[in-house]
Subunit: 303 residues, 2 copies
């Protein structure tokens, strides 16, 4: 997570903008037509304007694969071009695909998303249900992954909150597995160390976890349980998570978590009463507000 | 699973051919070039010849998304065309994407894979770690899904075999969740009932589970635990699973499971010593052999 952490420090922001294109929420002037190729073009144009407007104040973006895949290969092409554009603008790109498989199949996904032959993202979200066999092909790339631990949705507890006979929950067991996977894979690939000027608390390895902003108690438990594991926190804003809910995620350097907002930023223009000509500027203002709201809590943690 | 079961009965086969293109295992005459578009064209040509050769003796095919996605949008286009071609030939198509997400995002994947706007597959593999929120958008389509329960890989037990405080394992808890999800979603959508001429044992609902052929004991436990849940069994052949290992999956109608083989069938030509001009015929012979090997065990179960 070294590159991510550098960008967080440089921008003084942990805001992760989720690039989730909802065509129905696009301003009319962006829509180029209604066949798949035209929709895909509209998505790319929308994303470029959002990226242009926020790239200097945020460390990272997170395109969600489903929103592109629903428009077929044309949508996937727009996803590829979005990733390329975001990287050109110096952003760390997390491909939110929640992929999971084993051996050569997982290696196929790694090639698709975490190699310069493929989309060339910096990071991929992964579902860890398959165990080590489903993780190693991704960490072998030397890039970062975030594995689902405690997700933000209401029914996440049906499996994730179940108690194991060891007394820990399934999501805690998953977080501990991630900590093990990360330690093994991080040293050469990531290179973060105390010698690089990070305090001990900030040496995060290359396997992070996803923990929902909607579960503040679990955020605190997990921060204590796995102090070297970086958090990707969805569920802020539209899903109900607030800045105070995620305060426990940060370490004494104000690091340790990236906080995602998608709809709350991208479609903030809809609350202005305008026609959306200014959607990108409105998104920027919203990203600044979110940055500042969260930084109040981050700064309070810094020793 | 009604349509799948009809095709199984019609072909008297539970062989599921996994369409996993390994370019390095293709016969030379199939390869059209080495850029992504040419590779994608080669994959489609390979798949069409395989499908032409086996469609009358198997009920279903299972393209694995990663093997296509690694070649970018060109690969995804070949995947779309593969699904279309297989359906034209009357095959039931299981898109092996192991997708997982919630609400509008999961609905995006459902639109991508399980709608006629998208790839129009009959069935999708899904990872159930997120709970009901991650399942309902898929079952709402009225099509089938298979959810990972006990996967075929060596490390699957790291999470899946953990004991819960209830005394059951994580994979058993997942199977029971699937049984619950299926009961809720199946009645209208699937329509299978005893009145249709299925015996009671064969009334499977629309949420199946994935159970590896490499874990015969777990297959037997799960068949007893969730008798209305259809099994997708990977791990046969190349991964070491044999016909006797999966015998317990079948009910007294010889139904209850579909058994996947990918490499073992697609690349059987490599064991012939030939140049692969006859790869499709060799694949057919291998699929027939697998069908017969498994049918010996299925028939022994039929009352």
């Amino acid at each position: 997570m070294k590159e991510l952490i550098e960008k967080i420090k440089q921008k003084n922001s942990v805001v992760l903008v989720g690039l989730d294109p909802f065509i129905d929420s696009f301003p009319k002037h962006i829509i180029k037509g209604d066949d798949k190729a035209e929709i895909a073009e509209s998505i790319l144009e929308f994303n470029k304007q959002i990226i242009d407007s926020v790239y200097d104040i945020i460390p990272a973006v997170k395109p969600q694969a489903a929103f592109y895949e629903q428009f077929g290969w044309q949508g996937v092409r727009a996803l590829e071009e979005t990733v390329r554009y975001a990287k050109q603008k110096g952003l760390y790109v997390i491909l939110d695909g929640k992929r999971n498989d084993i051996s050569s199949t997982a290696a196929g996904y790694a090639k698709a998303f975490l190699s310069d032959y493929g989309m060339d993202a910096d990071c991929l979200t992964v579902n860890g249900y398959l165990g080590t066999d489903g993780i190693k092909p991704f960490t072998d790339t030397g890039r970062d992954i975030f594995v689902l631990a405690k997700t933000s949705n209401p029914s996440s507890g049906e499996l994730q909150d179940r108690l194991l006979d060891s007394g820990e929950t399934v999501y805690e067991a998953m977080a501990k597995l991630c900590d093990k996977w990360g330690v093994a894979g991080a040293s050469e690939a990531d290179g973060a160390s105390e010698a690089d000027g990070f305090s001990e608390a900030a040496v995060y390895h290359n396997v992070g976890i996803v923990v929902g902003a909607t579960y503040p108690e679990q955020i605190a438990r997990l921060r204590a349980l796995v102090p070297k594991v970086f958090f990707l926190i969805p569920g802020y804003g539209a899903q109900g998570g607030k800045a105070e809910d995620i305060a426990a995620a940060f370490d004494s350097d104000g690091l340790g978590a990236l906080v995602n907002s998608s709809r709350g930023i991208l479609y903030a223009w809809k609350k202005t009463g305008g026609n959306g000509e200014d959607f990108a500027e409105v998104a920027r203002a919203e990203a600044i507000k979110m940055r500042d709201d969260i930084n109040d809590y981050r700064n309070s943690k810094i020793c």
